[in-house]
Assembly symmetry: C2
Homo-oligomer: 496 residues x 2
Amino acid sequence: MALRESDRGQAPRKGLKEKVLTLDTMNPCVRRVEYAVRGPILLRALELEQELRQGVKKPFTEIIHVNTGDAQAMGQKPITFLRQVLALCVHPALLSSPDFPEDAKRRAERILQVCGGHSIGAYSISSGIQMIREDVALYIERRDGGIPADPNNIFLSTGASDAIVTVLKLLVSGHGCTRTGVLIPIPQYPLYSAALAELDAVQVDYYLDEEHAWALDVSELRRALRQARDHCHPRALCVINPGNPTGQVQTRECIEAIIRFAFEEGLFLMADEVYQDNVYAEGSQFHSFKKVLMEMGPPFAAQQELASFHSVSKGYMGECGFRGGYVEVVNMDPEVQRQMQKLLTVQLCPPVPGQALVDMVVSPPAPSDPSFAQFHAERQEVLGQLAAKARLTEQIINSTPGLRCNPVQGAMYSFPRIELPPRAVQHAQELGLAPDMFFCLCLLEETGICVVPGSGFGQREGTYHFRMTILPPIEKLRLMLEKLSHFHAKFTSEYS
Amino acid sequence: MALRESDRGQAPRKGLKEKVLTLDTMNPCVRRVEYAVRGPILLRALELEQELRQGVKKPFTEIIHVNTGDAQAMGQKPITFLRQVLALCVHPALLSSPDFPEDAKRRAERILQVCGGHSIGAYSISSGIQMIREDVALYIERRDGGIPADPNNIFLSTGASDAIVTVLKLLVSGHGCTRTGVLIPIPQYPLYSAALAELDAVQVDYYLDEEHAWALDVSELRRALRQARDHCHPRALCVINPGNPTGQVQTRECIEAIIRFAFEEGLFLMADEVYQDNVYAEGSQFHSFKKVLMEMGPPFAAQQELASFHSVSKGYMGECGFRGGYVEVVNMDPEVQRQMQKLLTVQLCPPVPGQALVDMVVSPPAPSDPSFAQFHAERQEVLGQLAAKARLTEQIINSTPGLRCNPVQGAMYSFPRIELPPRAVQHAQELGLAPDMFFCLCLLEETGICVVPGSGFGQREGTYHFRMTILPPIEKLRLMLEKLSHFHAKFTSEYS
């Protein structure tokens, strides 16, 4: 009937009212997606900033954004060499300017040489510029004490997130009890839960051990896996090291145990190593999964499938806005790798300026280069400040009654546990809010401090946390932490 | 049993041989994805380039890449103003340099003002920088004769492809006969078929009319829709105008008819308008779907759901490598729009340099600005050359026996029809190749000309085509077209 009507060119009634696309008719997987780092708290913070601009009186004069790992937004200065080279790539007329060091010019010319039409405005091949992937391979070999890396196993990406989703896409299959399950840490970085929801895969939680500096215990992996096998087909294990939001750095022994477990259980390993340059704690050291895997020798080294992710958004450079990153795949089935290559072609290529930044990050100035001294000083300044801020954060949080955090061994976050009075918990539940969401909203309204509730990352039932970055300038961070501890005391007495 | 083994830390046999991820166990939707523009022909072209570099003798000295719309790779010069502003944003120390015009500096300062920490290296909000979305809205209002545009309906993206996939994601739902169907033109730009395969939606083909300059006929839409309703739930209609790969520009009447059809049939409209600046033919003019929809008045203007896509990769700027673009949504359900906003947060933000380019493209220098004269001259030079190359291509193709093409009214492609001798068709089939794939491979091997077979875009059964860009410098294009017609003559006699 509807067809006949439309044949006569009349509008069937449905055309007149209903939308084609509504909450009821849209993709249900997309509806299930949640991403707390940019959720209700951030939206409210943006509203408050708007009100402040309009001159509305608040108990604070500015919003302190410690909700997201956005270093330059918090005042961290870009590394001069990176920006010089990029400016030369963007506007090659500057190559004749005396204001740029020779090595920056050589580097820019080297990059432009391998761009289509010698322009950074041309597409690259979909896996990223060949020369840059070769430079990434050399970086990985240096990092891993000479263990070889193959440029053909490296794919440049639009930030690490893009590469992580690409690998997850390859892994997803099945329906009902055969649906792909993916083990992720709790607390986790919510990209993982969001991507798994969108891809209709099963999120399998394993809990990090808060009592032992957020260590990863293989017996907990085994528990999670055994339970998951009742209702899905677990096929991959995600590990974030250094940890986000937890800031722990895994020991070599722990990584070996994880690899052995993945091998025994037939799990594809995904190692999120975007914070590999962010290690601060005495005695902590970054060990790449690739290196540990290769050093374990056969049968592991030759067979265990691994994808390792890196990014230009973190580390000492913090170039989030350029969306540069890469993934190295190890022991991936060649046919599957061809499928991955094919899948990447559809989106044409990662942003070429981000690819150029990847190149500079994996092959920074050498001691003999004119730019080395300044580059080295700027890099050490950033990393030194981050180390000091990691210590300061731990110190002030742990001297505050009702707040407790583990040492920030690496990355750029603390994930403190908060004691909330029963009346506050009850009040939050009456408002239909997670108790830590309620705490974070009150904190924001009263102090302008914007943090993310632990419920957005996952936490053990009945425990409450929030994630904060350690990125503000150290004096500002100190004031913020003091404000935070005063607020917690006030909040606690208010609800006791 | 497997569990007990792993409890004892032994490796179940499967761990020793099989990969977790194989062609059989990977995501079957990803396996179905095809993207001809970067398919086997391009891979072979890259091999040939490698061989040429190694000094291997070939009947040609270089590969002529007319397979992809990558203007700067074919020698088109970037627009100076765009690169000046971008260089200033990347390396603000240049703001004190005398070598940059004042308006470029003002523009860079205006952009940096609204970046986190005044740095282009900070994340933006996920829908893109507010000020830039406001500038996009003003551009759309000017383009559409004053019809209002709302910045809150505009989402910046990583090239247009990213935004197209995002909107398709929202639309996908159902299983079996209730699966979402999406109408796409044949021939199409293969992003659509690739995305629909990956999202497990149903591709519903409607054929453009080659005999009438690739016009879109609503009775053909109706035929496609009626047939599709037997096996899926058609919910969206994609239109590419100006056309890729077909180069046609739709008339206002045609667009009105499409809108009326979508409205009657309850279809969400997706208008791929990335070539809106690329219109060359006498009497052809770009009409945006938004403008036509709004001018049609009620009930259409107030109800028909529409998403319109644009990009900085095409037009006169051709800044493909920066991956900048946007989508404007019209009459979208506010709840769904919030869901779209949420979905975008997971990938954090589009590349900020690409966002900056979008800003310059939507608000170029005004006649009173110091940069105007040069900007205007450069822009007209590019568009004038493209118009000349469009005419030249049509002329030479249509003077070649066995080749025939429609006028290139817009975009940057010709999609000529090729007559292939029955013996060539038979030979191709013996090789397991589509006949036009066989033709294009022979063309590549003998002349170095890299085009994409029509089978990669879709075509009527028994017809054969290829897509070529009109992007090489005009003299090079002329030589290439002559080589092509000689080759076709030779190929034809060889197989007759």
